[in-house]
């Protein structure tokens, strides 16, 4: 990247190209509609200036069809772009099923990432090129926003909730990554790089990171926590306490005490740990204590990843 002036951000994905194409063509249409206004405005002002003698007879004062024309036609044209833009938008919220999941936790003023293989990093994020990556994100304090200009994507991270988006970075390289939602004192230095690697380089990077003394995959970390935090005391199959067994719960419907049924997704499981009496499973007493002050967001991620992995284990049986 040369120093000095940069007029267009790099395109790191197919989506980025699509967004550029969209704004380019929409911009062109906008100019087509606007230029006549500016030209006519200037021309009328000069031609009909007071000192100039021209024909001013029969000036119209209203015309319904003209009014309807210049209201409806631009609106319909814009609607076409609306459909296009909305489809692109839905696209970044529907990850392909084979996307790898990276957990993102933001706090004032740093980014923390957890790779499924157990690697953890701060601020800089390594991802493989050409593979779909889904980010499942939450915040520990205030609202932050994950913004990679090169990918043309942005998503807020909200405390107490999971938000997600996915991308498929096609070109290896370093791309700036910034926080876009004002988050306090050091908002402007809360950033890093998205480092897109060739798949083999990514594999090498992963193994190097694992050599750094990490304790297994995210799910394994979660399994350890599941024992350490006493979850298994109640939620194991043989437990004397009446609590739902959790093996294979992820993605399954759960009947609630008020008659509704929800799918056990990341949000549900995280809420069940942090706000246990928000949604109570049918047939069980509301006795679980909240872990809101005990677990960090990353530990919750690990627990959810563990519960997710038991799902996979049971399916394979």
């Amino acid at each position: 990247m040369s120093a000095g002036i940069e007029l267009w951000p790099p395109q790191a994905s197919h989506h980025a190209e699509q967004v550029d194409l969209l704004i380019g063509s929409f911009g062109a249409m906008v100019w087509l509609l606007t230029l006549p206004v500016f030209v006519l405005m200037t021309w009328f002002t000069i031609r009909y200036r007071r000192s100039h003698q021209v024909n001013r007879q029969h000036a119209p004062t209203h015309n319904l069809w003209v009014e309807l024309g210049w209201s409806v036609i631009p609106f319909l044209l814009t609607l076409g772009f609306y459909v296009w833009a909305t489809m692109l938008f839905f696209d970044i919220h529907r990850p392909p099923p084979d996307a790898m999941t990276i957990h993102v936790v933001a706090k004032q003023w740093m980014w923390k990432y957890q790779h499924p293989e157990g690697a953890r990093e701060i601020n800089d994020l390594h991802v493989p090129a050409g593979e779909p990556v889904e980010l499942v994100m939450t915040s520990e304090d205030v609202i932050h926003s994950f913004f990679v200009p090169g990918l043309r994507i942005k998503q807020d991270l909200v405390p107490g909730r999971y938000t997600s988006l996915w991308f498929n970075a096609s070109r290896p390289g370093r791309y700036a990554l910034r926080c876009a939602e004002f988050c306090g004192t050091d908002h402007s230095v809360m950033g890093g790089n998205l480092i897109v690697l060739q798949p083999q380089d990514y594999a090498a990077w992963l193994s190097r990171s694992a050599d750094g003394g990490l304790d297994g995959t995210l799910a394994e970390t979660g399994a350890t926590l599941f024992r350490q935090m006493g979850c298994s005391g109640c939620h194991a199959a043989a437990s004397p306490v009446r609590a739902p067994a959790l093996g294979g719960i992820f993605g399954r419907p759960v009947a609630l005490s008020d008659g509704r049924t929800v799918i056990a997704d990341e949000q549900y499981l995280s809420d069940a740990i942090l706000l246990p009496n928000k949604e109570i499973a049918a047939g069980y007493p509301s006795i679980m204590p909240t872990y809101g002050n005990v677990l960090t967001a990353e530990q919750v991620n690990a627990l959810v990843a563990y519960l997710k992995s038991t799902h996979a284990a049971q399916d394979s049986k």
Partner: protein
């Protein structure tokens, strides 16, 4: 006056929107939390306030009919009922305080966060309403003491005060199902 009342409606709108969001997000816990409110006191208060509204409406009619004495009596009845409303409300608050449901106090203890949140919302909502009741009472007293207003056959002052009082009533009519009825079982 009505334009101002529309503005007041929107003021409470924010509270109701918060309750709506809370209810949508915490379906079952919301009902459980609401169950701890005293439904009977809430119902009694609804009846008291509705009756008070009737008195205000009668006062307007009496002033129009040229019966200033009746107008004054009806206004004082409305004031009295308004005070009863506040008294019941106070008793309810005192009970909540004893049970440790009053946020921000030393005794406060809640069964879970949703109840805490619900009680907070309950106090903000009913507190804001109580402030309006108090203002309304003040206006009613002013109207009742004002000789000229009682003899005004167009009932301008009494009419406007009554409008305000009815609005306070309407707000309560919606607070009642939002806070109390949600917990009945």
């Amino acid at each position: 006056m009505l334009v101002f009342l529309a503005s007041e409606v929107m003021l409470f709108g924010g509270i109701f929107a918060a309750a709506l969001a809370l209810r949508l997000e915490h379906e079952s816990a919301y009902g459980a939390a609401a169950h701890h409110l005293n439904l009977w006191l809430g119902t009694a208060n609804t009846a008291v306030l509705l009756t008070s509204s009737l008195m205000a409406a009668i006062a307007v009619q009496a002033a129009r009919d040229g019966k200033p004495a009746w107008a004054a009596r009806a206004l004082w009845a409305a004031v009295l009922l308004g005070c009863v409303f506040l008294a019941i409300k106070g008793a309810e608050y005192a009970g909540d305080l004893r049970e440790g449901l009053m946020p921000g106090t030393a005794q406060a203890h809640f069964e879970g966060t949703t109840q805490h949140l619900f009680m907070n919302l309950y106090f903000i909502g009913t507190g804001l309403h109580a402030v309006h009741v108090t203002i309304g009472l003040g206006l009613l007293v002013v109207a009742a003491l004002n000789r000229q207003a009682r003899h005004d056959q167009h009932a301008v002052l009494i009419g406007n005060v009554a409008l305000y009082w009815h609005l306070v009533d309407v707000v309560w009519v919606f607070l009642y199902p939002t806070l109390y009825l949600a917990g009945a079982r």
